[in-house]
């Protein structure tokens, strides 16, 4: 396939940013700086776990953001199967990829946190195993999205894969209640939260900042997905046009035969 030349108008900005994302980006950057200050310096060590608790300020927000990403991907996939519009397919793809990044972070930071608290980086515990399975399932979802095929067929198949992967999401959440687990039970989602004061404030700040960061990443990723789809469509149209022109030129040089442009059938001139 021939390379597509740049079609940017002179002076037009070429990026996925807008005024809203720029403001949101500044808020996220400020929030992340505040989170670093709170999580690493201001918040005191906990009585039970000491300074290892500081990992909680990134691990728990990563896990909750993973829920937003995969939950949104599942919802958008269901909406795609219902409405069959490009918007829901692109949103599902963008949300799944951002969710996968935070899922990977939740697994990595949780593993690191496990060493000083459990004495091991990994246990085949219900929460950890189901989260790893979720990571694998949504990796498969993104692999399906990367397949080269008709966009409508691909979108439909990907939507079914996302809905299948979604079965694991409540299993991850309730695994600590359903099975005996090394992983602690929910700290905040209860009537009497186990932490308070500066620890709770730092954790809530982390969750808010990560939610805003997720929104910022999602908007940019959605626009990338949109541009990639336009580029894919344009590239395919250009390739078909080029190939048709080549065939037509080749046939007209070889014989007086004429290629019927509408049907592709050859007609021999008398």
């Amino acid at each position: 396939m021939t390379a597509i030349p740049p079609v940017d108008a002179p002076g037009a900005p070429a990026h996925t940013g807008s005024t809203a994302t720029r403001y949101l980006g500044f808020v996220v950057a400020g929030g992340l700086a505040l989170l670093v200050a709170l999580g690493l310096f201001i918040s005191p060590p906990s009585i039970e776990q000491g300074d290892a608790t500081r990992i909680m300020y990134i691990h728990v927000p990563s896990a909750t953001t993973m829920y937003y990403g995969f939950g949104l991907a599942g919802f958008a996939s269901a909406m795609y199967l219902w409405k069959k519009t490009e918007f829901w397919d692109l949103l599902a793809g963008a949300a799944a990829e951002v969710g996968l990044v935070f899922c990977g972070l939740a697994l990595a930071t949780g593993s690191i946190w496990g060493k000083p608290t459990w004495g091991s980086y990994w246990q085949w515990d219900a929460r950890l195993t189901s989260t790893l399975l979720l990571f694998v399932l949504f990796s498969g979802y993104l692999a399906v999205r990367a397949l080269q095929m008709d966009t409508a067929v691909r979108a439909k198949r990907a939507a079914f894969v996302a809905l299948f992967a979604m079965i694991d999401l409540p299993i991850v959440h309730y695994s600590v209640d359903w099975w005996r687990s090394l992983h602690q039970e929910p700290t905040l989602a209860r009537r009497d939260p186990e932490i308070d004061g500066m620890l709770l404030f730092s954790l809530m700040t982390g969750m808010l900042v990560f939610a805003l960061l997720f929104t910022w990443l999602l908007i940019h990723r959605f626009r990338v997905e949109f541009l990639a789809r336009r580029h894919e469509t344009k590239g395919l149209a250009d390739a078909i046009a080029t190939r048709r022109a080549e065939v037509h030129l080749d046939q007209s040089h070889r014989s007086p035969d004429v290629l019927d442009a509408s049907t592709g059938a050859m007609e021999t001139t008398p």
Partner: protein, 46 residues
Amino acid sequence: MTDAVFVIAAWLITGVVLVGYAAYVIQRGKALSRKVPVEERRWTSK
């Protein structure tokens, strides 16, 4: 700080992954934007 190695490693990995992924998304957006007509980029602003 107790368990400093683990705390720093966790925060460092998170920072590197998030900054790296954000940079990747922005760069990919810039590269694709140059190949798609400006009228397709409805969000574009100076």
